[in-house]
């Protein structure tokens, strides 16, 4: 009589299907299905060329410029800074040289690499996906193992379409119940990071589960998995289900016809087995999560919008107290101030975290019929050319423009400002991006992270604001 097979997590299933060889020390050479490449990748191509090598599987690579592209025009030659222009030009040259599919600056499919992967159907359940960017964790939302790598590893993947890895530990984060009105995926992930900390999932791959996660749209799951790295996780993933399948069906690079049916059969076998054991378990009550904002300089410095700036005197230990004092000094905040009273100078709606159509719809619903506060400069930067096109077809651009928002072209933009689009020293920015680190949006710039409707609410009221108040017509 044979024994029942050992129950396996989704990570274990994906891992074993991609194992090429295993070394004596336990590291595994993993096959990479999809390699996404952006305009920061020039050093990896240069390293490849120095060795006289070419990409092993160019058909598995897709490229688009996002980090260094301007969002006020689409002309590479007009990028003023020659070193930044070089990064974008290098991607054009390197991809042409090796026959790599590239969505260039004037292609309507150009956009942030983590937006276009799912959008094009390039990111599929069961795949291993890598990219030289820590937010590659985004693609785990479709049920893939997707993680960011450095430049040397990127060179390795270009050369061999494979990567040495030791299997990470597994963590399941279960969010039970239903989210309350006005509570979105961004609030869920900020609540998770506030709970477990920025190193809470270091060395782990997180699988998100539970009713609140099942209830998220694909866009919401992408937001959730995107910020897994902000909890230290190697990757985040959500088991594929009907929501995933419906999202992918008919997308340009998704399987078609008979291949689609075969793919569906494979994908349905991917979710973790019912009694699979995870190395760590975390559980949150979805109904208890409120709209969140960050007050400090780490994504774990997040609180419900109804709260106040915390007092370092109440910190658990001296280390934490010192970190809070430094954060408050940088942020120019006083303990006890109501978060919903903090005025803002800039608003940034976009990024690989919240630059998708659902995000723009949520922001536009708040902007509609309202006006950006006089002292505020507010930007909307769609995550891709196709997101922009869809938003324009729905008239969202007109809503934003009428309210006084700038409606811009696709790119990473103010999330990290590599293209030069930054806030000024001392400016306070309500941002839908993923990191509120010191200087992230420019030297001296102060970032408050939040969801897209909350950011739109900050734009029209001029201060951090509980979006539920506006949604209720207040």
């Amino acid at each position: 009589m044979s024994e029942a097979p050992t129950p396996r997590t989704m990570l274990e299933k994906i891992w074993s299907r991609h194992r090429i060889v295993e070394r004596e020390d336990g590291q595994v050479l993993l096959f990479v299905d999809r390699h996404l490449v952006h305009d920061g990748t020039a050093p990896a191509f240069a390293a490849l060329h120095r060795r006289g090598l070419a990409p092993r599987a160019p058909e598995r690579i897709t490229a688009t410029p996002d980090h260094y592209v301007p969002t006020d025009h689409r002309d590479i030659a007009a990028i003023a800074d020659p070193e930044r222009r070089f990064m974008v030009e290098s991607l054009v040259r390197d991809t042409a040289r090796h026959g790599i599919t590239m969505f260039g600056l004037t292609d309507r499919r150009q956009g942030i690499v983590h937006v276009i992967g799912p959008e094009e159907g390039l990111s599929q359940p069961g795949m291993i996906i890598v990219c030289a960017d820590s937010h590659t964790s985004t693609h785990g939302a479709v049920g893939a193992l997707a993680f960011g790598v450095g430049m040397t590893e990127t060179t390795h993947v270009l050369a061999h379409q494979a990567l040495w890895q030791r299997r990470p530990r597994t963590m399941r984060i279960t969010v039970d119940g239903a989210l309350g009105p006005g509570v979105v995926a961004k609030d869920v992930i900020l609540a998770i990071i506030a709970r477990i900390g920025t190193a809470g999932a270091t060395g782990h791959v997180v699988e998100y589960a539970g009713g609140a996660i099942r209830g998220l749209s694909m866009e919401g799951r992408l937001t959730l998995c995107n910020m897994s790295i902000e909890a230290g996780a190697r990757a985040g993933m959500v088991a594929p289900d009907d929501t995933t399948h419906a999202y992918l069906h008919g997308r340009p690079h998704a399987p078609q016809g008979a291949d689609w049916e075969a793919a569906l059969a494979r994908w349905r076998a991917l979710p973790s087995d019912a009694d699979a054991v995870f190395d760590a378990e975390v559980r949150l009550d979805g109904a208890a999560i409120e709209p969140m904002v960050t007050w400090g300089t780490s994504p774990e410095d997040a609180l419900p919008i109804g709260g106040v700036v915390p007092d370092p005197a109440g910190a658990a230990d001296a280390d934490r107290r010192a970190a809070m004092e430094r954060a408050l000094a940088y942020m120019g905040l006083t303990p006890g101030t109501r978060l919903a009273e903090i005025p803002v100078d800039r608003v940034f709606i976009g990024s690989c975290t919240n630059g998708r159509i659902e995000d723009l719809r949520a922001a536009a619903a708040i902007a509609r019929g309202r006006t950006v506060a006089p002292q505020v400069e507010a930007w909307v930067v769609p995550g891709s050319g196709l997101v922009k096109e869809q938003a324009e077809a729905e008239g969202l651009d007109r809503v934003f423009r009428a309210a006084g928002f700038q409606w811009r072209e696709a790119g990473c933009s103010m999330c990290l400002g590599t293209n030069g689009e930054i806030a000024s020293p001392g400016q306070r920015c309500a941002s839908t991006s993923n990191r509120n680190f010191v200087g992230r949006q420019g030297p001296g710039a102060r970032t408050h992270l939040m969801g897209p409707a909350m950011a739109a609410a900050a734009a029209v009221t001029g201060r951090l604001c509980d979006v539920r108040r506006l949604a209720a017509g207040g």
């Binding site: 494979a162 790295i229 030069g420």
Partner: protein
């Protein structure tokens, strides 16, 4: 990659947890070519005052720590962005080892592939080391990769873990890329089979 065997060097303490890679290398320097001295960008905005002059309050600017080759920090050092520039900045500035209770995963991997050895030691040992380095600026530590030990200024010896293959690569100054090239037939065979199974 440069070989790493033994190191006897001044260590500089960064008495903070969660130092992110945006601090180590601000994003506006990410497009700088590898041929630049990225040491100039290391902790750029915290090392200097707004007028560009060195901030005497920043620990690395103290003369006793000049020539430091070991950086010691609290937990979750170099978390955040995957930018390998963070490793380049530390390496170009002269650092060859980083000691902390924990690291950002991607940073640790990048370090191993660039001759910057990440050494994980227990939180209380690191806390003691940081206190010792602050009390006696310019104190030295020894990192022995062959023996997988760190010797602190007080003479105590602490073992550390490292992947055997990464250790082999560092000790011999070889990189993974060439090694993987010897497995090309296995990669070919895998891809043929995988391609058939996953149309």
């Amino acid at each position: 990659m440069e070989r790493f065997q033994r190191l006897d060097a001044v260590a500089v303490p960064i008495a903070r947890p969660n130092v992110d890679t945006d601090q180590i290398t601000p994003a506006r320097f990410l497009h700088k070519p590898r041929s630049d001295d990225h040491g100039n960008y290391l902790f750029h905005d915290v090392r200097r005052r707004p007028d560009g002059t060195p901030d005497p309050g920043f620990v690395m600017n103290r003369p006793e720590y000049a020539g430091a080759q070991v950086i010691v920090a609290e937990r979750n050092f170099a978390c955040g962005s995957s930018r390998e520039n963070a490793v380049w900045a530390l390496y170009d500035h002269g650092f060859r080892a980083a000691i902390a209770p924990s690291f950002g995963d991607i940073f640790a991997a990048n370090g191993l592939k660039n001759g910057l050895l990440p050494v994980r030691l227990p939180e209380d040992v690191v806390a003691g080391l940081i206190a010792a380095l602050e009390a006696e600026p310019g104190a030295r530590v020894q990192v022995d990769l062959e023996a997988q030990t760190v010797t602190l200024p007080d003479g105590s010896v602490h073992p550390f873990e490292i992947d055997p293959f990464s250790r082999h690569c560092l000790l011999n100054g070889v990189d993974e890329l060439d090694y993987t090239g010897t497995l090309a037939p296995q990669i070919d065979a895998f891809m043929n089979r995988y391609g058939r199974e996953n149309r």
